[in-house]
């Protein structure tokens, strides 16, 4: 495997990390306002992700940075071509980030309600738009021979991409509910489990539909198909584990389903990075868009040393905050 492929795998791995981790904190973010019945419950919900959401978001920053460094043309075309989704994702992440920090800073219900709304929007919008974006990446978008995006916003709103947005939304909501059930005790835990039982089958079905469309119609790659099947199996197991209230297994299941689905997507995409639906010469490929061998080598050394370290101390964080959170009525 040459270094450009290694970096394709690395970018995929970073997005897997991002979606598995931020996936549940997006889900929790959606639940804060919709599921938390009073301020105490909402604080309990936010408390489950309080120590980790910012670290989870760095997976995105690293993934985008790795994309920029390893495949500059991919980064350039994707971010300029998907202009409006990227803009909305940024605005949502801004609002969401400050909302977590600011909501508890004033003892005023109206103030908190506003920030809870910000957390809801800030978690929902990126979930949907990342789904839309990655569905479009694997499906392909109109590119000119010089790899510039030549489509409009309407080209990004095709049925497959819209389904992708819906899938990410449903799966992250489910992932979040399972995480809440895993991380809380008392009534919230019971209700989160019940919610996961309702959302789970629907999300799993949507995911299966999306993967089937992708793997049977758009990109027929046997390896990707196998991974897609595995993703669906993991989702089914998660539904089953949640039903018998094995919360740890349920969370492992949703995390595995997300990871396998993202890996399936990247496998289906390979060796393309962004297929062109207009001029075939516009397709960005791993070999064509990769940075120079030296640049990739430097990045490989850095990543080989520091990525395990990151996994180690982020893992430690989850260990430190492993305790379930109770409810504090004020």
């Amino acid at each position: 495997m040459d270094l450009s492929t290694v970096w394709f795998v690395a970018v995929a791995a970073l997005f897997v990390g991002y979606f598995v981790l931020e996936g549940f904190d997006f889900g929790v973010g959606m639940l804060v306002r919709l599921f938390g019945r009073d301020d105490a419950e909402r604080r309990q919900l936010i408390g489950t992700i309080g120590p980790v959401w910012d670290g989870n978001e760095v997976w995105l920053i690293t993934a985008a940075g790795a994309m920029f460094a390893a495949f500059p043309g991919w980064y350039a075309t994707l971010f300029s071509g998907f202009y409006v989704p990227m803009l909305l994702i940024l605005l949502a992440l801004i609002v969401r980030g400050v909302a977590f920090e600011f909501r508890g800073k004033r003892d005023d219900p109206a103030w908190r309600r506003r920030w809870d709304l910000a957390i809801l929007c800030g978690s929902t919008v990126p979930a949907v738009l990342w789904g839309l974006t990655f569905a479009n990446i694997v499906r392909g978008v109109p590119l000119a021979a010089d790899h510039e995006y030549v489509g409009g916003l309407a080209d990004l709103l095709n049925p497959f991409a819209l389904l992708g947005g819906l899938v990410f939304l449903a799966v992250f909501l489910w992932h979040g509910a399972v995480f809440v059930a895993l991380k809380t005790e008392g009534e919230v835990r019971v209700r989160a489990n019940r919610l996961a039982a309702r959302v789970g089958p629907l999300a799993a079905a949507l995911l299966a539909g999306f993967l089937a469309w992708m793997l049977l119609d758009l990109r027929r790659t046997p390896a990707a198909a196998a991974l897609g099947v595995a993703a669906v199996v993991a989702a089914v197991l998660a539904v089953a584990a949640n039903r018998v209230r094995r919360e740890g297994w349920a969370f492992t299941g949703t995390a595995a389903a997300i990871a396998l689905a993202v890996v399936a997507l990247f496998t289906a995409l390979y060796p393309a990075l962004l297929p062109s639906t207009a001029d075939p010469a516009g397709t960005l490929t791993v070999a064509g868009a990769a940075a120079s061998p030296y640049s990739l080598k430097v990045m490989s050394v850095v990543a080989a040393i520091f990525l395990p370290l990151v996994l180690l101390y982020q893992g430690w964080t989850y260990w430190v905050f492993r305790k379930r959170l109770g409810l504090t009525r004020s």
Partner: protein
Amino acid sequence: MDALDVARWQFGVTTIYHFLFVPLTIGLGPLVATLQTLWYRTGNPRYLRLTHFYGKLFLINFAMGVVTGIVQEFQFGMNWSDYSRFVGDVFGAPLAMEALLAFFLESTFLGLWIFGWKKLPKGIHLATIWVAAIGSVLSAYFILAANSWMQNPVGFAMNPETGRPVLTDIWAVLTNKVALITFPHTIAAAFLVAGALLVAVSLWHVTRRPGTDTGEHRFALRLGAWVTLAATAAVVVTGDIQGKIMTEVQPMKMAAAEALYQSEQPAGFSVFTVGTLDGSREVFAIKIPYLLSFLGTGDPTARVEGINDIQARYAAEYGPGSYAPIVPVTYWSFRAMIGLGVAAALIALWVLWAQRRGRTPGNRWLVRAGLALPLLPLAASTAGWIFTEMGRQPWIVFGELLTRDGVSRSVSLTEVLTSFLAFTLIYAVLAVIEARLLLRYAKAGLPPPDAAPAEEPDDTAESVPALAY
């Protein structure tokens, strides 16, 4: 107005805004860590209360730095895709390293610090804030290495097929002499901002709330004033070296800093000029002889090249076109940077003098100046960035790529304008909220002495929400 202009305005606005929060993150982090270390070492609760108090201000500020930082990373691809394609092979590496080495550390360990007061042993908990602070400083290093490459491209070769630079020596990029001097200059400026914040906040408490935790606030006042003074000294020393390196690698920027059109030997430095800055007419100017020669080269009698000579040289080298930046911008931003920085140091010195041996600063003007103190170094660092970035124009990568060739071709004016307006609007709203929160928490003062060491979500509810979300 075309998409290029709007993209440039957007970059300027979002970057300046981002950098209002960054200096406090970089400078205040180690100061909070120092306060906590003092508590750890002495067990004196005064330091713990100060840690909580300034820790809160630090976190309110930190959140804004984080969320405005993501915009920066995405913006290169969104608005400057041709720039990204051109520089990716070189510029991408420090950016990715920043995320992998610095941002992960910063965010993960800050999370541990905020929520780990009761979950971690005291010593480990203290270490988390230090590691987070180191992460912030590291991130500054990588992003400044990336920026310095745009000022002084090194460690690359041109790929003749693509016409784009290819990284050949990462070590050269990371030890770029511009980076090596810009880094301490920026870090010192960050401490200047943080020190000034301590001065302003504690001065307010000492003069407006006399009798309440005066000992604690007087300690913070002295600490802040000394940090401000030491940081100013470091800013001056590093800035001086930086000026000499700049004269060497970007002579046009130095000439534009002085609006020096004709080469002079020796060259003086004008403190103030009334008239036109295009060199044609000078109504009134206060000039210090020899100073520009000294700032640029270290030799007070050396020749300093003027804009006209450099322009002629560049036109011969790079082809026809104008290679001078907008001179009034560079001229005034350079002076604003220096003037405001020096003013901050003078005020800090005055405060320090006025509070000597238990005195309470009484002079009305001093107190007012002291309360406004943090704004000065903030404005100075803003001016510094405006100078360094505008002074590089018309280049986006000095000598290699023009700014106008870096903009996204596939992005329409409407799109850039929409995003520019959206960011400006949301940033303005957040600025108001952020400023109010900071003032509110700054005025609230230290937590009560018997307060639990920071609240966690599973603790008993707090009357004033503290470090928990």
